[in-house]
């Protein structure tokens, strides 16, 4: 199975409650999978020329104190990059660093300073939370209910085609301010992956969703909008999918040509909500009067931040 959720806020008034609104949605979708859980949270962007980096430290280093390790990284990175570095948030798995948007430089220095550290996602607005375990465990561990932001997408995984690790968990965030979650299974990921690798695109896992995410990332880097990028997924990839894709500007959904996997969308004046099952959105305020619908096969629905 796998469950997906998303919440795109249209009004700033709800931004302080984003985490409190999203946590019950993703916890409800634990019924569709508890192998791993992930969220992409989009909040007020950092300054131009700067990125947030969601950094996971290597647990093989021992129990270690994430706080002191992150502070050591801040100092080391600042010296190595010659730019100011700030620790925005300490998390049980590491934390969120704010640094220059030179991703290659930051990744290289991070790896030198702390071999095994992983950047799970980056961008001016994006933070990635992902871990193995149920949504209840992950929401508690990462204090999701306290989080603010203007948009979030999330995923509960029941693994069917590749290993259960943190790296294999959704969302996949292959380029800045892009996150992808997927319910379904692709049947030709290896073929598409070979084509992308020939173009110099590197992969972290053997997961099928990572292929779709990197294909979408390539299209966005080429200047396509999200609508065109999702069209390209339909052209290139076979299989069953409901895809929920978010950038710092937009959120969009598409289902495969048979609509094999579920998706419910609810829209009010205050938000657009996405869940695999209606039951996962019944905790939202104003859901009783929302416009609720199921996207038809191959229909791309997108909402842009105003």
């Amino acid at each position: 199975m796998c469950g997906i959720i998303g919440l795109h806020l249209k009004v700033p008034a709800l931004e302080s409650e984003l985490g409190a609104l999203v946590a019950p949605m993703i916890e409800c979708m634990g019924s569709r999978g508890t192998d791993s859980t992930g969220l992409a949270i989009f909040s007020t962007p950092v300054a131009a020329g700067r990125f947030r980096y969601s950094v996971r430290l290597d647990p093989a280093d021992g129990p270690g104190d994430a706080e002191s390790e992150m502070h050591a990284l801040v100092e080391g990175l600042a010296t190595a990059t010659g730019h100011q570095v700030r620790c925005e948030r300490i998390r049980p798995d590491g934390g969120v660093l704010e640094a220059t948007d030179d991703v290659a430089l930051v990744s290289h220095e991070l790896n030198r300073l702390h071999p095994g550290a992983v950047v799970m996602g980056y961008g001016r607005s994006l933070e990635i939370i992902k871990d193995v375990g149920s949504p209840q465990e992950v929401c508690d561990r990462f204090q999701v209910r306290n989080r603010r932001g203007f948009q979030a997408i999330g995923h509960t995984r029941m693994a069917t085609e590749s290993a259960v690790t943190i790296d294999h968990s959704h969302p996949f965030a292959p380029t800045h301010d892009l996150a992808v979650v997927h319910n379904g299974s692709f049947s030709n990921p290896a073929t598409v992956r070979r084509r992308l690798e020939e173009q110099g695109i590197a992969f972290v896992t053997d997961n099928d969703t990572e292929v779709a995410a990197r294909l979408i990332g390539r299209e966005l880097r080429r200047g396509s909008d999200i609508h065109a990028a999702l069209k390209e997924v339909g052209n290139e990839m076979d299989g069953f999918y409901t895809l929920l894709v978010a950038t710092d500007q937009e959120v969009a959904v598409v289902r495969d040509s048979f609509a094999c996997k579920p998706l419910v969308v609810a829209e009010t004046d205050e938000y657009v909500a996405f869940t695999s099952e209606y039951i996962a959105m019944t905790s939202l305020p104003g859901i009783e009067t929302a416009h609720v619908f199921e996207p038809k096969p191959e229909e791309i629905h997108a909402w842009r931040r105003s």
Partner: protein, 243 residues
């Protein structure tokens, strides 16, 4: 075991008899279905605050009058052979799946696979139904006021479907003996499905279904009849000899 509360359920006072209320905010699905299973024939029950809950009122044998008062989730009323169920809202996937007898009436729309594999009984959807409505129908009746999505009636073996609106692509693909009536347009017919002339018997059947559903927007003389061309019943060993 669940606490059962009784009250006069209908605010408009239309019901003189007392209805038993089972509240989803207080009871688990297992408790609700367990309570329903112990009730005597003729009992009147309201399931309150369903909020998209799955699997409500499944596998019941007695003739109960059940009102699910709100939007509900997957598999509502499935496997039933007795109750009359009304859902005051929309439902998720597979409402009335494997229904044997009784009636399920949904005032809103239904998601995919409405009435899938139902052997008997009637599923009435006042709104539209999504794709694969009536897939593998085995003798049940499905009446949809609005549209149905793609691949509806796929491999339907016996029974009747009436679509008051439009039908999506590949309607009635690989039909056996089931018959589908469509009041609106058909995006495309599936393999081995064909349009056939309407007989007086068809008109009578559609009129009975329209009356039972309470629809006023379907005129029985103006529907299209879709049934099997029966070209897929037997494997044709001489077909496609080029390979």
């Amino acid at each position: 075991m669940a606490t059962l509360m009784t009250s006069d359920a209908r605010a408009d006072g239309s019901s003189a008899a007392t209805r038993i209320v089972l509240d989803c905010e207080e009871l688990t699905t297992r408790e609700i279905n367990g309570a329903l299973r112990t009730m005597k024939a003729g009992s009147r029950v309201t399931i309150a605050n369903p909020s998209g809950r799955h699997n409500l009122a499944v596998g019941l044998f007695e003739h109960l009058d059940i009102l699910i008062d709100g939007h509900a989730g997957y598999f509502i009323g499935g496997l039933g052979s007795g109750p009359d169920i009304t859902v005051n809202g929309f439902v998720g996937w597979s409402v009335g799946e494997n229904l044997m007898a009784g009636t399920i009436r949904v005032t809103g729309g239904a998601s995919e696979c409405a009435g899938a594999s139902s052997h008997g009984g009637t599923v009435i959807i006042h709104g539209s139904a999504s794709s694969r409505a009536g897939i593998s129908l085995k003798g049940g009746t499905i009446v949809v006021g609005g549209d149905v999505g793609h691949m509806s009636g796929f491999m339907a073996q016996a029974g009747t479907m009436l679509v008051g609106g439009d039908a999506g692509h590949a309607l009635g693909d690989s039909l056996y003996e089931a018959v589908i009536y469509v009041a609106g347009s058909i995006s495309s017919l599936g393999s081995d499905a064909q349009l056939e002339d309407l007989t007086q018997s068809d008109v009578d059947t559609v009129r009975r279904l329209v009356d039972e559903a309470g629809f006023t927007h379907v005129s029985p003389e103006d529907v299209k009849r879709v049934a099997s061309a029966k070209q897929l019943y037997n494997f044709d060993a001489l077909k496609g000899q080029e390979y």
